[in-house]
Symmetry: C2
Subunit: 459 residues, 2 copies
């Protein structure tokens, strides 16, 4: 290992190599509850693609595992340290290289924070849509590595839909450009797309070219209060069946509303058991009509109250309650975060099963959902120090995954597999598909150094 | 080889195996000009996934190359036969398995013709957007294998953006399902996306699940006549710069107009040297405003005439002239079809270079372009039997590719690499990226049987 450090010190600027255990300790894991992590040999805060290349080459030569990471806001353990690894932080590579209005694209280093890119684009009348709840902190590199989603996915797609090209360091230190700057292109395999969502297991992303949209029309917000999760789920189904594609359609349950009220005193839980928040960004009268249709469909599905918000500040407050759900619930204990996604029409059935799982296992499960996508985030809350509840929470986690698979869904809609969903992935896909994953991993990581054991485990 | 046929006859229904050379000859190549093709050992018209599995297994066991094909409408040679290969036609697997309005998806066998799927969706108020010019004949399987584009790409993306899942036969005959039925999903590598555009080199697609949209508002058409390619190119740039995303933006030059007139007597070439056809499907007043803005921008860029078409039949006729360009020009000789794509802002420069290439090489080049995407289709016309012109045409083909690369573009926007663009691909990407392609190919095709030599050639 001292050999590795010596090699790094020969090529990487000294101030970018950290061996102080106290500093390193804050980089050893992401926000996944109870996911294991080891003790790294060193942390490198890369400042350039050259630094990354040097680190990859040094690790490949010695067979030392390398764990790349952005801001560490993941919730699946994908960025967790392995014993003896080099942790490679990309946070310092945070330059916005180019924002090009004519070509509708931006080129950024991986450490650029999502909101910083979105703000810079907005100043030029452009829009980078992917908006994970972690947008104020998470980086574009991490978003690409996990194929992050967000609120606007229901209409505008996920990170993958916006990545035109990446520069990456692969193999034993080769720097490659994958993808293109043009609007279309089919020259060779979609290796750029393969890197998106590969969670650091196929190489290190050192630059990203993203597609942009023009600024959109202001959104109108529609609010619905429901007594039951099922009624809210039916309302979501009715909106899809009516051919409406809202620009957001979020569900928040009573456990979340109570936690937010307890923290921020917003008075939400007095009014509703379940909140549906819909948005439309269709311009002009057509947008007014779409908002009115959502109000009507909410009512027909049994909303106890539904209206188009006339007050943008109030609408923002309701969405911020949804975005604050994680922090509000973390005040009550450890959060085990689910991320299953089911066919849209099975959302009510899946919500029913989650409630049954909570009751059966005697655990506290709060629900937020990107309802319009069928993407649920049951949040299993375990009081501090309650080991019995922890065991029950982990059992509930597995049962929710099993139910999602049984309904034709997937174990992860947008958070990734990391460490926590590896068994779920094996349950979801066939052994032949797992074998294909290993074949691709072995082909693109001949030295076996890129985040080994994550996502697909060891053969 | 008789051993192979014997094995096939043991598993595949006899009427699906064709060895008659006269029948086979009509399946030996696609529509690429002067692309080489060999003599197959047999043609199998697969009727089921089981047939495909049996053929793959028999070929893998014996190391016999397997060339999958749909309707054979490609123009890069991707479906051309190799000596001694088994040609595997998927045309007979043409069932629409499911159209699901609630989940906004369709499940189809690979032999379903694009227009047949689009029609079946339209009858249910749904829309499958990808609309290659070959849509009346080409199959969804072929569209997926080449990641086909079309006219609506400029606003709605390409085939890749609509493929949720595939069933494929890979390796030595394993049947796998890749992708998902849910709106979102990040469980493992995007192997479904990797299959899209892989041109039959990684396996045989036996079922496709595509994402659908709701039916859209009727389109308005805007027509512009221009004296020069450059003026038309500037008009396209002005539209992008104004933040307008048209639902189609097509360019047709004088050579095409004259050929269509000579064939169908439409009288187009009397009015214009270059035609721009823009469309908008934005509903309501906002759509009227967008159409008006396009008319104004056409005029400001120097259109000799521009107007919103008030006559939908006339608009359809103009678009059909664009779609008939291939057939009209084929009456004049052999067509070598280009498919380069450049950054949108460089469209005028690329058109200038194409004109210079035509003059320098004394060849006849007609131009159609998905102008809004920067995707050009220079069509190099060679009179029958003129060997000198053929040599000059092939030189012009190479020079256009070199110019596209020099401008930061790609050698293929939507037609694929096949046989004709293999050198172009090697010129476009670095040797390290070619090495990654071979690593992926070797990993996923251990028997080396899937369309060998296509796209990336042999190492």
């Amino acid at each position: 290992m001292s050999d590795l450090l010596e090699a790094l010190r020969g090529t990487v600027p000294a101030d970018r190599i950290v061996t102080d255990p106290d500093v390193i300790s804050s980089y050893t894991h992401d926000e996944a509850a109870w996911a294991p992590y080891g003790t790294p040999a060193a942390l490198v805060r890369a400042g350039s693609t050259g630094d990354v290349r040097d680190v990859v080459a040094a690790c490949a030569e010695r067979g030392v595992p390398l764990v790349p990471r952005g801001a560490g806001t993941g919730v699946s353990g994908g960025a967790n340290a392995l014993d003896g690894c080099v942790l490679l932080s990309l946070e310092a590579m945070d330059a916005i290289v180019e924002i090009n209005a004519e070509e509708r694209l931006a080129v950024v280093q991986p450490g650029v924070v999502n909101d910083a890119l979105r703000q810079a684009c907005a100043e030029r009348g452009l829009w980078y849509p992917p908006d994970p709840s972690s947008a104020p902190w998470s980086t574009i590199g991490g978003n690409v590595a996990t194929n992050a989603g967000g609120l606007c996915c229901v209409k505008y797609g996920v990170t993958r839909d916006y990545v035109l090209a990446v520069e990456a360091v692969v193999g034993r230190g080769e720097v490659v450009r994958l993808g293109r700057r043009t609007a279309k292109g089919v020259a060779g395999y979609d290796l750029c797309g393969l890197m998106v969502g590969s969670e650091g297991t196929l190489g290190v992303i050192t630059e990203v070219t993203v597609r942009l949209r023009g600024a959109r029309a202001p959104e109108r917000t529609v609010v619905g209060y429901f007594d039951t999760l099922q009624a809210a789920g039916e309302a979501v189904g009715a909106i899809t069946a009516a051919g409406i594609v809202p620009s957001a359609l979020e569900l928040v349950d009573r456990h979340v509303l109570e936690a937010v009220d307890a923290w921020r005193n917003m008075g939400l839980s007095a009014d509703a058991n379940v909140l549906l928040l819909g948005r439309t960004d269709v311009p002009g009268e057509a947008g007014d009509a779409e908002a009115a249709a959502m109000v009507r469909l909410f009512e027909e599905a049994g909303a106890t109250w539904s209206a188009r918000s006339s007050d943008e500040a109030e609408a923002e407050a309701l969405f911020s309650a949804r975005k604050l759900s994680h922090q509000a619930l973390e005040r009550l204990g450890t959060l085990l975060t689910e991320d299953v996604c089911v066919p849209r029409g099975l959302l009510p059935e899946m919500l029913t099963r989650v409630e049954a799982t909570a009751a059966r296992n005697d655990v506290h499960i709060a629900n937020v959902a990107h309802a319009g996508d069928g993407n649920l985030h049951p949040l299993i809350v375990t009081p501090p120090g309650d080991d019995g509840a922890r065991v029950r929470a982990q059992r509930a986690f597995d049962e929710i995954i099993a139910d999602a698979i049984a309904l034709g869904g997937t174990v992860s809609g947008e958070h990734g597999i990391g460490l926590l969903k590896r068994r779920g992935l094996r349950d979801e896909v066939s052994p032949a598909v797992i074998a294909l994953h290993h074949a691709v991993k072995d082909a693109l990581d001949p030295a076996g150094i890129f985040n080994p054991g994550k996502v697909i485990g060891t053969p």
